[in-house]
Symmetry: C2
Subunit: 398 residues, 2 copies
């Protein structure tokens, strides 16, 4: 971002200090300032295999830039400067988008924010490298902090980010391990602990904490923000998982029910496994143990073989040989559409969605109460934005 | 690593100051100290989805730990302490292994150091996350440096590592872009520039430079080490690419000719495209434009369909329908074994391997000359180890 642009954006977020500003406008201003900062960081990477455009691809698709907004609102709400938090906000957004790119590969997702995922557009090799680029390059803004906010706060932010990344990859590892080892005997506490690691630290706790550090606050402010961020993370992730179940790619920008295909251990799925009668639980466990189809085409091949057999173009022996070959390639049968529909219906039948909504609402209320109790955060439209964000995290519909 | 273990390892690398030590022994001592440091970093990650064992998997398979050894030798050779360089050495090794894990996914490699690659063993999702974990967690040792070597040198090392990661992902992006856009009109200078970015910074320049910084040397020492590392990187990568062409998995721990299947723009391939007669160049370009087969099984399916057709279990119509279906899935024909063999023979015919060996030898000699000229690096067995490493990088057979 040019200095002039920095001042304009800063004026944008700050300018409405005295008037009411909608959350959408507030988020849009934060996103603009943060995207400019990211673009500035990669200003000279044009020659390097198109890396700059690839790095800016996901941020340019929209998204709320929730994490930068949390950091900016906390920093400005505590009387800090936009310049003091912008490099760190850019780092948070880079981490988030790097995780999105790699998650999309890990989850075999095809859609992100209404467009094909990066690995579908450019192949897995490029997508892995672009995510690595964003992770690797996120260190530079944190070093720029030394000049902007001084050595002490810059080091505290580096330590906070280091802590954050460790928690995040641990949470992701636990979730992947549950799927791979077909673990489903887990309760709400197990799920919430995993979500705290996977989601709360990088999406809520750290953004809030680095905002306070950039504003010059001491370590005594951090525990309350950790508690606030933990509850926000739980409300956010449960809501996200609920949205995934009813997702329409046009609205939500993700695949329909991708979590079920993937076998993700959501609060709803785990509740269902605890509440379902034994025979249903057994069938559900059997489905969950099946792999995800590798492509849409995999189901298509079976249909084609059926057609050829009916027409007499393929003998029963030939059909069996081809199926055996394909099975050997893929080791086992994949989940089917019927499997997914059946799991979804069972969740509804045993009240798992209602349960999840109740838990999300609880954590949202807890977050609102903690925010209301922060007597060291002065009244301002930044504090208002944080309060609206608490509502948004729980009440969002996309 | 416990303090006691640190002292033992330190004594190991240091103990032989007055006697001759083989390069293998020197490397083994450096690797042991570095692996202990990495293990210590992840001492409490046991519960997190088996992340600790996954992170330690590649380092435990052996490997030379070349990058830590370069940093340790430079630091100790300049009178620095092992404790001063060990955290940074661990970071370098973490980056290297993270890049290996992600490269193996990007290159669709099946073998690494004589065992299945991490994504073959544990699936792409886990492998992407383990690489991310290693990238993310590599920040912590650099923050530990503040206590070990003081704020100034710690910040200089952070900046050096930030610079290094940017260069590395840029180099990787250029190489991937050449393959994806089927660019082959490139000369030695293009290749060497890409290799400087992709290989020299993270494998040679930065390890040497952080060794000097950890020993308390000032910025005036760094340009000579940059030049030394650049030549070493060129010699190393060309040698690596030559080994890939003749690779036997038992010896080299990688796939045979994987670079050719992948269409990597090596010095040999680019030389061949410049030297081959027009008809051969055209055929080579056509082959390079073909994709890599997705699995060994892809070729197997064609054979199976042939057998079924011969036996009368599959009609010609049925065979065509199945082939059309598979082609639609994969868009285009893949490279074949014959293609790869033909490319390899053409390289031999036009002298591309001889040319590459000559260029590697040139850069190896340049590196040796620069090292010999470093009059501020005292004579010691650490300096001897560096000199042997220059020979090893060029002369290695695996």
């Amino acid at each position: 971002m040019t200095r002039a642009a920095a001042r304009t954006s800063s004026a944008g977020v700050r300018g409405s200090c005295s008037q009411t500003v909608s959350l959408d406008d507030y988020l849009a201003l934060c996103k603009e300032a943060c995207d400019d900062e990211i673009a500035r960081l990669y200003g000279d990477s044009d020659a390097a295999g198109g890396l700059r455009d690839l790095i800016l691809d996901y941020p340019r698709r929209g998204g709320k830039a929730l994490r930068p907004a949390l950091g900016i609102a906390m920093c400005l709400g505590l009387g800090g400067h936009l310049d003091a938090i912008l490099p760190t906000a850019a780092t948070l957004e880079l981490y988030h988008n790097a995780f999105l790119i790699h998650d999309d590969i890990e989850d075999e997702s095809w859609w992100r924010r209404g467009e094909p995922t990066l690995h579908i557009d450019h192949g897995i090799p490029v997508a892995v490298n672009v995510g690595d680029a964003m992770l690797s390059l996120s260190l530079q803004p944190l070093l720029d902090n030394v000049e902007r906010i001084g050595l002490g706060p810059a080091l505290r932010i580096l330590r906070a980010v280091s802590h954050m990344t460790r928690r995040t990859v641990e949470g992701q590892a636990i979730e992947l391990d549950w799927v791979r080892s077909n673990t489903w005997s887990l309760d709400d506490a197990d799920y919430l602990q995993m979500v705290e690691l996977k989601t709360s630290w990088y999406s809520f706790i750290t953004p809030l904490q680095v905002g306070a550090i950039a504003a010059g606050e001491g370590p005594d402010r951090l525990p309350a923000l950790e508690a606030l961020g933990r509850h926000l993370g739980a409300a956010f992730q449960i809501t996200d998982d609920l949205l995934n179940l009813r997702a329409d790619p046009d609205v939500y920008g993700k695949e329909i029910g991708g979590d079920l295909w993937e076998g993700k251990r959501t609060l709803m799925l785990l509740h269902m496994m605890r509440r379902a009668e034994p025979a249903h639980r057994e069938r559900a466990a059997h489905i969950l143990a099946k792999r995800r189809p590798t492509t849409d085409g995999e189901a298509g091949l079976v249909e084609l073989l059926d057609t050829l057999t009916r027409r007499g173009d393929l003998s029963a022996t030939g059909r069996a040989a081809i199926r055996a070959f394909c099975t050997a390639q893929h080791v086992s049968d994949p989940k089917t559409f019927d499997d997914i529909r059946w799991l979804h219906q069972l969740m509804l039948d045993v009240g798992s969605l209602t349960h999840a909504k109740r838990v999300a609402a609880h954590h949202s209320r807890q977050a609102a109460a903690i925010l209301a109790d922060l007597d060291w955060l002065p009244t301002s439209h930044h504090r208002d934005a944080l309060a609206q964000l608490v509502d948004y995290v729980h009440g969002r519909t996309r």
